[in-house]
Symmetry: D2
Subunit: 146 residues, 4 copies
């Protein structure tokens, strides 16, 4: 299995008075990693997907563990894998780490929909392979139980 | 059981090009409801808690279901209850609804910590009672399984 | 002359590590005051204006002075007046103060446009009167010079 | 004269329902360019400046012209120059453009302060030279008039 890797920076405006990334910002980081995955791994601008193909992937379920805080100036590595892929649903996992320490483990399940009809549609086959290429070998422990 | 109720507004800058609240904003709304809970239900400004008492409640685990989107101009009612309370951990549930339709069901588990030592501490007794007053009668189905 | 008054709260997530409102947030506050002005003073939801009438007021020029910082927990009063109104342009002034201390003085010039054609249009007469009712008696010193 | 150049991306969550970058986001972009200027041009992390040296550059005055909107997916080039430098004040100019079209012209005047005493201090000489290296040959027309 491979994974998509990217790196982000905890900026000045992301940090609360305690010096720690304000947690709603984490979800913003995750969306940014999602947009980068589309562009650099799938090969499609999320922009084009939405504007031209009228396809979107709204969030249906999220489950996130916060182990260690991110601080101002940190540059976490984000490791993105696919932990489940169905006909019309896509589960992506984002692991944030600093050096060897795991910081955030986020599992985000999105639905593939047609934005004009706001209806579920199958994930187009030209994209499916790209997500399968980062599929985890076995479901993660957390998700297997569900 | 009672619950803490508040209402929020989906503003212009919260909405993505599809006309739907950009989901990272939802976590910002949840934090805003959390701050209001402290001020109006517990009777303490979250500001004072952090700055003067050096106590904070960072997020440890979140689990959120998105059933129906929030759109520009929507004014969801937020119903906040406590779904679990331990010695040093606090699980709060935020149910967002529009009329009768449920939109978001968020369970957020925070830890009570001393911000100077960054260590877990017991939830101060003067606050505990306020959270117990909005305790759900039985664990929610989703959380019972865990 | 009268003015439109509102009040805002500097929340936890708005403050930078120095304990001061991260300045890009100030522009978010100003947009929020603008949306409230439409709803409570003009009597129209900015939502309806954009979605149904396809009219918007994008920013053309802004000039802002920062005299005193806003801090976590502050509840500044915002005093909104109109410092210039043209056929298709609207200059609104937002004065933020805490007790007697002035914090921010923002002059924001917007253009009235048709969002479908992206072209300048006259400010509809039914709204013009509402802005004239908060018109400053003489141009502010800052703007007279320009 | 040289200038510091960087490039930014208008992401999904930055765009309003009209498909245009929500203007308060522009100020967030400008702060991001400011942080990059420190890191890549001055050679100091803004993080270290604030946390270790207790020096900050809060905004005192901003003046921004919006000529053309930024849209979802746009990748504006940002050209940063210094339009005035005093003993304790620093005026930076950010020109956003797409191809040949100018989009935003922002002049931001900050004060150099000691964050512990919250008092104005001279710009340290080791940084001053870096800002002088991007000094505009003559004050920009907009600023000369003031």
């Amino acid at each position: 299995m491979t994974a998509f890797l990217t790196q982000q920076t905890v900026r000045f405006g992301h940090v609360d008075p305690a010096g720690i990334a304000y947690y709603p910002r984490i979800y913003d980081y995750i969306h940014e990693a999602f947009e980068e995955l589309w562009e650099r791994h799938v090969g499609v601008l999320y922009y084009h997907l939405i504007q031209e193909r009228k396809i979107g992937f709204p969030l249906v379920h999220s489950e996130v563990d916060f182990a260690n805080p991110l601080r101002f100036g940190d540059r976490p590595v984000v490791r993105v894998t696919c932990f489940q892929i169905g006909r019309a649903s896509l589960g992506l996992r984002y692991l944030y780490s600093l050096d060897k320490a795991s910081c955030i483990d986020a599992r985000m399940i999105t639905a593939c929909i047609n934005l004009e009809r706001m209806q579920s549609i199958p994930i187009p086959s030209e994209y499916r392979g790209r997500f399968e290429s980062i599929l985890e070998p076995l479901p993660a422990k957390e998700t297997r139980k569900r």
